[in-house]
């Protein structure tokens, strides 16, 4: 049968179905150009698939869901960061009209804790986010009043509030199972070569210490969930603002003491997460589920912003100690580091992020002798957790500041020092990974960013302006100093050797020609659904409008791990591609019979399947789909992608850590008011080795957002504590950049030819923010002539070189 399909001239013009011509690694291709004539859907800035629902306000976030008969849950949290609970009196709350349940630890049907976090604390609270009791009531107001009516008798205990206090001889132990307050399983060493020999060879050796701060994710959507019980079989359905629905499913099963399969989790549109909506959501959903089962009614919980600050994970603060040595010619000979992060009261993910930290400690430089030790400590503060970059932004701040300081000690240009030691194809990383069979375009990327920013000329101009300004007096503008700084990084793509990186994707062709896709990974707002839709549309040769994306539903797709480590496109995309390929194969077999040709002769574009070189022999995708379905063919596929094993030797920290790496180079320009300490970030140019951008508009969106978040980390953001109490739990005092604060931002999408990812794509989401704070800090040091080794570079630090803090236990070291 001959198809009546007409291939539009457009379709023929816009797509050349020939395989991609391989480019030399490291060759910079201006964005967009490379896709011309090569791809129909990927590498194009197609609008997001969820744009319409979001711009109209129709998208349903978890807090937007209402059920008849729904109750509102609320939690009572500890007044102290460390205390024994002597008694809890819930009688007044229980007696209030409209209150349906008031529960304490003794009432929990399942486990009291999940991982190490407590659904409800029983006899001891270890930080101010610990929950002691919870209520479900007719309205949020009644729930709030009921919480206030619960009386708790505490015996306040002394606490541990800093890395130094945690490590002090005879320090109080925050968790029984963590002697010396070292967070379980968080020590990750790296041993390469012999640092003693390396230092002996070095002409210049410097030792430095840097520190970073507690940072809040500050997604604009506070955590929310609704749990609906099914009284027939005891199962529950959970709707939530979830970054990792499968992780939440496990937590809920633990809280209820039920089988995992009885917990059905449906992800709602997610209002930002950045690594944040993980543990806190497991706890919230677990609690709501317990109350839902107890009352037999749907229970909704929505955190206030303050509650979100109290209980959600934070970016771990790091103490970064280094000793680095180089020969006169700028070759780094030895690098020794001790990185300690503050994990707070509970588990904290430090066991994973410290692994990533150990891999990236020495930066994107080839160094023969390396000794690294990373470990985390417990304190009576909110727990650390995943946050965009997963330890890299902290580690890069220290290590890239150190590079500038080493250059200064050597009397060498910091750019030259970097180029001299930068990874090249064939370089061996600190973990002994020889960079072969992957693109390593770092040197060219740095050069490209230097060119784009006119780096050396601008640096010279600012230097001259500073000299002139120093001579003029009086006028306030004479006290303004400009500076420019650079930072570079590499970032392992995906989870690497940290944990299993396998994931699944489901692609199903419907008999009307539409294509349903499902992933176990989530769209957190970054646009993963769009990237996945583009990958599948490209592979099948259909229009993006033909793709129907369904959000994660734990009962409809297997657990494909967490949406972390910028693996959504990089790893999840490969599963999508695999599923699409298999479906395509089945469809082409059907089409070949219809067009009386070999399946190998066929290709497809824009919803039309046709014979290569003879587009007059064609048929629509829809007709083929319909025929395939009615002839009983399997045209849906669950594809499971398993990346190759990456061996890791823990005692020495040696092994190929990641399948490939993405590189970045960021230049920041700042202006500093020398009399007030105010830093104005003028411009940030961010060059990112994206492999290939699946969607350039979305990729740029990641970079713009990364710049803003990195800038917040650099100059304004810090969760402040007084003996473990968070002093700034809302956006009036925890400040993030506004539209007025963000600098001029210039993204460079640098394409490189990497064989690993789907359509050569590398990870970007986290890389987009990881260098920014380091580049800004280097620019501030250039402007002021003074190095500040602790973030953020706020008014006080820039003017006085130290922070001033209100409250107790907050004194800066």
């Amino acid at each position: 049968m001959q198809g009546g399909a007409v291939i539009t001239a457009e379709a023929m013009k816009s797509c050349d179905r020939e395989p991609v011509v391989s480019q030399m690694p490291g060759e910079a291709i201006p964005e967009g150009q490379r896709s011309d004539g090569r791809y129909c859907v990927v590498n194009k800035p197609v609008p997001r698939v969820d744009a319409y629902e979001k711009v109209t306000g129709r998208a349903k976030y978890a807090a937007d869901i209402y059920f008849p008969n729904m109750l509102y849950g609320k939690v009572l949290r500890s007044r102290y960061s460390h205390a024994r609970i002597l008694s809890v009196d819930t009688s007044a709350a229980e007696a209030m009209p409209g209150v349906y349940c008031v529960l304490t630890a003794k009432d929990l049907p399942g486990e009291q804790s999940w991982s190490t976090y407590l659904f409800l604390a029983g006899d001891e609270v270890r930080y101010t986010g610990d929950a002691i009791a919870m209520v479900a009531a007719e309205t949020p107001q009644i729930a709030e009043e009921a919480i206030r009516a619960i009386k708790v008798e505490y015996e306040p205990l002394p606490g541990v509030y800093s890395i130094e206090e945690a490590l002090a001889e005879g320090a109080l132990q925050v968790q029984d199972y963590a002697p010396g307050n070292i967070v379980r399983n968080t020590h990750w060493p790296v041993r390469k070569g012999n640092v003693e020999e390396g230092f002996a060879k070095s002409d210049v050796i410097i030792e430095r210490e840097y520190r970073t701060q507690y940072i809040e994710h500050a997604y604009i959507e506070p955590e929310a969930a609704v749990v609906v019980p099914n009284p027939v079989d005891g199962s529950v359905t959970v709707y939530g603002s979830l970054q990792n629905p499968f992780m939440t499913r496990r937590a809920v099963a633990v809280a209820l003491g039920t089988q995992i399969g009885k917990v059905h989790v449906i992800q709602q549109t997610l209002g930002g997460s950045f690594g944040g909506k993980e543990e806190v959501m497991g706890l919230m959903c677990g609690r709501a589920a317990v109350m839902a089962v107890k009352t037999g009614r749907p229970v909704k919980m929505v955190n206030t912003r303050e509650e979100s600050f109290l209980e959600s994970a934070k970016r771990h603060p790091f103490r970064l100690r280094y000793k680095v040595g180089a020969t006169r010619d700028g070759k780094i000979q030895a690098f020794e580091a001790e990185l300690v992060d503050e994990g707070g009261a509970y588990n904290s993910q430090a066991q994973f992020m410290n692994w990533r930290a150990c891999v990236h400690t020495t930066g994107c430089y080839e160094i023969p002798n390396v000794k690294v030790d990373v470990y985390a400590v417990h304190t009576n503060k909110v727990y650390g957790g995943a946050m965009r970059g997963y330890s890299s932004p902290q580690v890069i701040f220290g290590q890239e500041s150190l590079m500038d300081e080493l250059a200064e000690a050597l009397g060498m240009d910091p750019v030259e020092l970097r180029l001299k030691n930068a990874f090249r194809p064939g370089s061996v990383t600190a973990t002994g990974h020889k960079l072969e069979g992957q693109s390593v375009p770092l040197v060219d990327l740095i050069k490209r960013v230097l060119d784009e920013t006119d780096f050396f000329a601008v640096r010279e101009r600012y230097r001259k302006e500073r000299e002139e300004a120093a001579q003029s007096t009086g006028a306030p503008e004479g006290r303004l100093r400009k500076g420019i700084g650079l930072a570079a990084s590499f970032r392992g793509c995906g989870l690497g050797a940290e944990s299993p990186d396998a994931t699944g994707a489901f692609v199903a062709v419907m008999d009307d020609g539409s294509v349903l896709i499902r992933s176990g990974l989530t769209d957190n707002g970054q646009g993963l659904s769009t990237a996945h839709a583009q990958i599948v549309a490209e592979e099948l040769g259909v229009k993006i409008e033909d793709i129907v994306y369904q959000r994660v539903d734990t009962s409809s797709i297997p657990d494909g791990g967490m949406t972390v480590a910028s693996r959504g496109t990089f790893t999840g995309g490969r599963a999508m591609l695999g599923a699409a390929r298999e479906v395509k194969k089945a469809l082409f077999e059907v089409a070949a019979r219809m067009l009386e040709c070999d399946p190998e002769d066929l290709t497809s574009a824009e919803g039309i399947i046709f014979v290569k070189g003879d587009p007059s022999r064609s048929i629509t995708f829809k007709e083929v789909a319909n025929r395939a379905f009615w002839s009983g063919r399997e045209v849906s596929k669950l594809f499971w992608f398993i990346p190759p094993d990456l061996p890791w030797d823990r005692p020495t920290g040696q092994g190929p850590a990641f399948p490939t790496y993405a590189y970045a180079c960021v230049v920041a320009e700042v202006q500093v008011d020398m009399e007030t300490g105010a830093v104005d970030v003028l411009k940030v140019t961010a060059g990112h080795d994206v492999g290939m951008a699946i969607n350039p508009a979305l990729a740029k969106g990641q970079i713009y957002g990364g710049i803003a978040m990195g800038m917040g980390m650099a100059i304004m953001e810090e969760v402040e504590f007084s003996d473990g109490d968070i002093l700034n739990p809302n956006f009036d005092e925890y400040i993030i950049p506004t539209s007025m604060d963000v600098p001029e931002a210039k993204p460079i999408l640098y394409e490189s030819d990497d064989p690993v990812g789907p359509f050569r794509a590398k990870s970007l989401g986290e890389g987009a923010m990881e260098c920014v704070a380091a580049a800004i800090a280097n620019a501030v040091a250039d402007a002021t002539g003074r190095r500040i080794r602790e973030l953020p570079l706020n008014l006080e630090r820039v003017l006085l070189g130290k922070s001033l803090k209100r409250g107790k236990g907050g004194a800066s070291k």
């Binding site: 009043e145 007096t473 304004m716 506004t738 008014l795 003017l799 006085l800």
Partner: protein, 297 residues
């Protein structure tokens, strides 16, 4: 949100009667940008509040008027109105400029100048400019009306000298006549939605030769309450401004701050920086005075 009863007044007399009846348990709400934040967090400041009296619908209280030698502003005038009004921009640009720095467009649309005064935040941005304008406020209660200088309104952070049954009906100040220049400098941690770390308002009148005849300087988040600093004003009065004098004025401001506020956790930063902000404000105001002439028309 703390539970409360809602009352609404459609006129000033009605509002006064209501306040008299529920004196001590009733809070007044206008724009709500401060009160609702306090009620939501159940701040100690609103512990006594059982009722909320909404005066936002009293049209008579929303105005900005040119009254010949005076400017009169209704307490319900929003920050946006202060920033945009022809009258304030002409006769009190220092106030218009300060109003523009408050919060965000949404906050400026709702937040009112009367609320800013009644809330008595030490960091309020409109208060130092009003102090330099020698503003007074009219307050009314069932027992009558009184006019009091704004400088006498602030008792402590978030506490005024107004009685709980009194309502602000008007803010008035004389138009600065002659050659005046102004400066409002706000130091915050970001460029919008920013709480003043410190602010300085300077209004300086000079003669044609540049001798400072009238010097009015007020600061926020520096002294225990927003206030004029007469020691600094006196230092400058009758002088022509020089770099050294401006610097000296800054030093004096800094020592006045320590004298009046004592040494606090933030002093190590504020002491050097208030010198700078004061110096900059004085220099800018004096320069502007020489560059332009403000006339009463």
């Amino acid at each position: 949100m703390k539970p409360f009863e809602y009352l609404r007044a459609s006129g000033v007399d009605e509002a006064c009667k209501t306040l008299a009846a529920y004196s001590g348990t009733c809070a007044v709400i206008a724009g709500g940008t401060d009160l609702l934040v306090a009620l939501r967090s159940r701040s100690k400041r609103v512990e006594h509040v059982e009722k909320v009296l909404d005066i936002s619908k009293i049209r008579d209280l929303d105005f900005i008027e040119d009254r010949g030698n005076e400017v009169a502003i209704g307490p319900l005038a929003s920050h946006a109105a202060l920033a945009e009004s022809r009258v304030t921009r002409k006769y009190a640009p220092i106030l218009a400029e300060a109003a523009k720095t408050v919060g965000s467009p949404q906050i400026r649309a709702r937040g009112t100048v009367g609320g800013n005064i009644a809330n008595a935040s030490p960091a309020a941005d409109t208060i130092p400019p009003l102090l330099t304008l020698d503003a007074s406020i009219n307050v009314r209660s069932t027992s009558g009306e009184r006019l009091l200088p704004l400088a006498e309104v602030f008792a402590a952070p978030y506490r005024t000298t107004l009685r709980p049954d009194e309502i602000i009906t008007e803010i008035v100040f004389p138009k600065p006549a002659g050659r005046y220049g102004h400066s409002f400098i706000k130091l915050g941690r970001r460029k919008a939605l920013s709480i003043s770390r410190m602010n300085v308002a300077a209004l300086i009148g000079t003669d044609d030769e540049g001798t400072m005849k009238d010097v009015r300087i007020a600061v926020g988040s520096v002294m225990p309450v927003p206030s004029r600093v007469s020691a600094v004003e006196d230092l400058l009065k009758g002088q022509k401004l020089t770099d050294d004098l401006a610097r000296e004025a800054g030093e004096l401001m800094s020592s006045e701050m320590i004298r009046r506020s004592g040494i606090r956790w933030s002093t190590e930063y504020k002491a050097p920086v208030i010198k700078v902000l004061t110096r900059r404000a004085i220099v800018q105001a004096a320069k502007r005075a020489m560059a332009e002439t403000m006339n009463v028309s």
